[in-house]
Symmetry: C3
Subunit: 157 residues, 3 copies
């Protein structure tokens, strides 16, 4: 497969992931990861200072599935609509049997009155492998610039 083709596939993976969350299809979200896949949310501040502080640190798919269950319980509090703009997708290198990639994101929220506001801006840093016939994340690390948002009840980013 050519570099161009791989890049196209990784861009498509990013878009499918965004659409899955935008449409609140939470049950499908863990399927973007391999069984031992990690999903981390880390404030950019901590990353820059070499600190280990994470908002979320999920080490495998089971933890992602548990998250989905608990999110469904608190669903009543959630924002009306989400919309992700994913841009600047870059494949930055190989890492063993996987590829390293990055992207920028903007998550917009729209409340029940139809007002849209910025929820979070930041970056994805991914390690992606081919597994069970599709590209999946062996790690998706979300670096959030915006850190005034309450994280404990939030949807995945």
């Amino acid at each position: 497969m050519s570099e161009a083709e791989l890049e196209r596939e990784i861009v498509a993976l990013n878009y499918r992931y965004a659409r899955c969350l935008d449409e609140n299809r939470l049950d499908e979200w863990p399927e973007f990861f391999i069984e031992e896949g990690r999903y981390l949310i880390q404030p950019r501040d901590n990353l820059d200072q070499g600190l280990e502080g994470y908002w979320l640190y999920f080490e495998n798919k089971r933890m992602l599935r548990d998250r989905v269950v608990s999110l469904k319980d608190v669903n009543i509090y959630k924002i009306h609509y989400e919309r992700r703009l994913v841009t600047n997708v870059e494949v930055t290198g190989r890492d063993g049997d996987g590829w390293l990639a990055r992207a920028n994101y903007l998550v917009m929220h729209t409340d029940n009155e139809g007002r849209s506001t910025l929820f979070s801006v930041g970056e994805y840093r991914d390690r992606i492998v081919r597994s069970a016939g599709a590209l999946r994340f062996s790690e998706r690390r979300v670096i959030v610039d915006t850190f005034v948002v309450p994280s404990h009840l939030s949807m995945p980013i």
Copy 2:
């Protein structure tokens, strides 16, 4: 034509469309549609509830041209500048002689004092055909998340 090539063409169509409106070249806007092309704006709320409520429902190119005329009449009220960020372009399938595609958008407005604010965030759901030597919309359905904006005088999205 390869899938990659088609996708590239559809991305380019989206960008040309955005630039046409950003630059206020309203007369060219209907040319992005075929003669019997439809242009709809529908709040996401209505879509989700299976309601038929539309902000705009234009069933053919003549209606689009009429819109252009009326917009030029009210031009004095219009916002100073617009800028569209179109992302997450996905070709999602074939439909007869056409292709189905989606994209996310963010429309920014800048007023006379140079202040930029979000106008609308949402999604395009398109049916695209090749007609008269170019890709054109047989349907462009705009799903708007943001529904606090006055629609009656607005530019197309």
Copy 3:
């Protein structure tokens, strides 16, 4: 090289440029330009009215390097974090030994309290050449929609 391949390279150039500034690697910024490369920031208002007013008008790489030095001096005033979303990249034509291209951008700022706000939205209008083994700007003209921001101390866009 095919059109698709060139386009892909120009998209990648845009993303590398964005990431360089987002990560505050100012020393590397002039390397995106050729020696006689120009970097201009012009309010969209002036462009539209055919006025020559620029916020910045750098005529060569030496001026860019001087800018980097002065920006490092005022670094204490600068915003905590920047994040660029670059979209709508279009290769619009050839110009001698170079290519003309455009893109839209959104620059988000995040302050020390973690609040993210829009800093600037606008457009890049570029002339790009191949030089010393890479694509570089012989001209990057930034057309800013947003003109309420103080320009004198700002980072490049």
